[in-house]
Symmetry: C2
Subunit: 491 residues, 2 copies
């Protein structure tokens, strides 16, 4: 296999000149240092060099670039902040990385239709701020929201902590402008609360991971901002009791905005990082948030506290102020950063199961971690059955990395057996391309490939993502003597 | 053009025998009388004879039928109760009608995961009844819910009166089993609250109008049943004031469960039909329903009543009992039946606009009705901007029908100009196939055709629907001397 890190010369100079003339020389990058910056994303273990990086100013330039790329069969990898966790924006077949961050105009908040329209380069948290300033609400809140872009959120169908009550990015995207591989500009959906004019291409593009089109404008649905919010923590000296509490809350027909789970191992590293006084002898904690009218929040939180206690929580504490609530949520949000400090390599997965199977899945992860003698911390969106088993390891230790691979493969199989899926919110990308057939089967795989071809007959859109080139096994990228990274398919 | 009503002989006898052996002779129909029953649906003006009607017992039989149909290039039109309003289940190219009503097992209500799983033949209202009996809630409530099947609801992405707050069918379909044209059984989605494993084929199938696959099992998301509900009516002697009230309510960040609009002409026929004492000198009425906790409902309804009054409602009345509320909602639900009594032919459209443009759209419909000298009553889901301008006419009066065509064409153009769509909840089918490009443009049309081909390379799935064979104009079916119906494309 080629050593991707040394790549960067497979696009002819004349084509580079053509591309440079589209965006202007300041927005065309092809020096080794600049290319290196775009050779990786937030996902550990994956890296590959692009041939050029283009930073277009708007849809017209994107369309012009796509025409050149399609004609010359050059891969196109569009990206924002690169915060994805599936290797989704690593240019594994080289080609052009499209940095979409200049398309960052916040075009409109429509308070009558409850929509917001903006470019893909807008930061997620800036959407929150802008709409909350006028009493509106955009619920999806992925962990990376302070740096992630909305284009990336749409491409990956980002989730977050409010998924249980409010759903994910897909549930809020009403309209898109996107450029197809041939350079045609597509406009789908809009501001209509109901619209059944043809196939729902809008929802199909959400979560398509840059493999179908380049998103150039987004129209999102907004909700009224809830009047009140309360945060509660419950600690357990029994992991199963915590999982059972989650089931009891839902079965009691209460849908909290947030229902997060941290196991003891995660609590320990979070406490070390955030110093908020977590009781480190406890086996698990739940962080529960409810929003709505003040009356409703009071009612729900009282009932939830009762359920926590009746399921054996050793302590149930309601945040007394908004600040205290925010600091608890921030502690949860810091879990990944905190874990990342412990060992050189942090591999975060997001196997997901129907929420009733949460306890069984948590058990399975523990068993598998022991079997392969690995340190796996588990936290995540318990209310969604969306767990983040996180392995603290070191990519230089090839023997351990091999065990990590085997452990995650078992975790994916366990999730599927429990009616779950290989990825709840991180996407398939490269990291899980070898496992997609576990979830969708050969009929689903074949159909998805045909859908891909319908959009992208020459296969230039983010090649190597979602669909694995070879068979099932995970692609491992290993450090070798030349100081760069190779790919090896285990078969 | 062929006279479809006389059709029924284009499938060879040997193939018919093969099909009969799959379902058994009791579930294979091909006598003229039986075929006639499946030659039309709830949409006026469209009729065509199938070659055979098959009533399969389950997914295996559906798969076997599809293999035969695909091999022999026989059109497949799957249907439930045929309540659609876009000619969606008229077998316009003959072939096989698949009556899916035997797949009507209600398989499960999962109270921990808040899902229900059932066959496509289950009646919508039976889903409501079953889940409400255990305190759960399936919001979509199309007008035809007492007879429509869930398979049809999924195929058309049915809407209803609770769309404003709760969304449409698409928002509740989590998993599907479907048979592809080649007979492969596809399983997509499931019970996971979050799932980004590959393209969202589940949402793509919802609203695909039987043109991509035959749905054989449905898993739907449920919500907790709201504790309380209240219904209110407000009467206006000014149509614009009613529309402005809708905007004011949303801008005040209140999202009622239901926000329906009836114009004076509709009120008159509804009163004649339902005798509930509507004030017939009023120009418009709103029916508003809110659900949630008792406290929240009280709060919201008080604020809504204030807004109605401040916008000039002459009377605002809150239903004193659940029965009174239900009778008001029933009156609204009876609108179509009531209108259908007035003249021989009732043509109901569902042009939809962003809700802030509701008043402008209502005005446009009035202007267009006057211009073409037609009786058009308008009612609909005001909160969704989803109007049902309904023309009372007589299909035997060809001159008037021609004016109806022209008027609806202008209505579609007006909706598009206001940022709207040609169909909010009824689907494209045959009735709006000639107008789809107004909404999605040539790029969208071409892409949708390629998606169709990806699923159905031989074009056997509900041919003649969504995509018009010829150019833009509406297809009019006229009665002629032979007592059957022909199609004429106006170009």
């Amino acid at each position: 296999m080629t050593c991707r890190i040394l790549r960067g010369d497979s696009v002819e100079q004349s084509v580079k000149n053509e591309l440079r003339s589209i965006v202007g020389k300041d927005y065309f990058l092809d020096s080794p240092n600049e290319l290196y910056v775009y050779s990786y994303d937030a996902t550990p273990l994956y890296q590959a060099m692009p041939d050029a990086v283009l930073i277009p100013s708007g849809v017209e330039e994107v369309a012009a670039i796509m025409k050149v790329a399609n004609k010359n069969r050059i891969p196109i990898v569009s990206r924002g902040s690169g915060t994805n966790l599936c290797g989704g924006t690593v240019p594994v077949e080289g080609g052009i990385v499209l940095n979409m961050n200049r398309l960052n105009a916040f075009k409109e908040i429509d308070q009558e239709n409850l929509t917001a329209t903006f470019g893909p380069g807008v930061i997620t948290a800036d959407v929150h701020r802008a709409v909350e300033a006028v009493g509106l609400f955009y619920p999806p809140d992925p962990g990376s929201m302070r740096i992630s872009t909305m284009g990336g959120n749409v491409a990956e169908c980002a989730g977050g902590m409010r998924g249980l009550k409010y759903g994910v990015t897909k549930d809020y995207i009403m309209g898109l402008e996107a450029v197809l591989p041939g350079g045609e500009v597509l406009r789908v959906g809009g501001k209509n609360a109901k619209d059944v004019a043809g196939y729902d291409v809008t929802k199909l593009l959400v979560g398509s991971e840059g493999t179908l089109a380049v998103i150039t404008e987004i129209t999102a649905k907004l909700l009224p901002l809830p009047a009140a919010k309360q945060t509660m923590v419950a600690y357990y000296n029994d992991l199963t009791a915590a999982a059972r509490t989650v089931q009891r809350i839902i079965s009691a027909k209460i849908i909290p905005a947030t229902l997060e789970f941290l196991d003891q191992a995660t609590m320990v590293v979070v406490e070390d990082f955030a110093k908020i006084g977590l009781p480190l002898d406890m086996k698990a904690m739940l962080i529960i948030e409810q929003d709505g009218s003040e009356w409703q929040v009071e009612q729900d939180m009282a009932r939830i506290a009762d359920i926590c206690r009746s399921e054996g929580a050793t302590e149930v504490r309601t945040a007394q102020t908004a600040e205290e609530g925010a600091s608890l949520m921030a502690a949860r949000r810091s879990a990944l950063s905190a874990l990342a400090r412990v060992k050189p390599t942090t591999i975060l997965e997001d196997a997901t199961v129907p929420r009733a199977n949460l306890a069984a899945m948590v058990d399975q992860v523990e068993v598998i971690a022991k079997k392969y003698n690995l340190q796996i911390c588990t936290f995540g969106h318990a209310g969604d059955g969306n767990l983040h088993p996180t392995c603290l390891t070191d990519e230089r230790d090839q023997e351990e990395i091999h065990r990590v691979e085997q452990a995650f493969e078992e975790i994916f199989h366990a999730a599927i057996k429990l009616g779950g899926t290989i990825t709840g919110e991180h996407g398939v990308g490269m990291a899980k391309a070898g496992y997609l057939d576990l979830k969708v089967g050969p009929v689903g795989m074949e159909l998805m490939k045909r859908i891909k071809e319908a959009f992208d007959p020459h296969g230039i859109m983010n090649p190597g993502k979602i669909f694995a080139k070879s068979a099932r096994r995970r692609v491992v990228v290993q450090t070798n003597g030349c100081g760069c990274k190779h790919e090896h398919a285990h078969n």
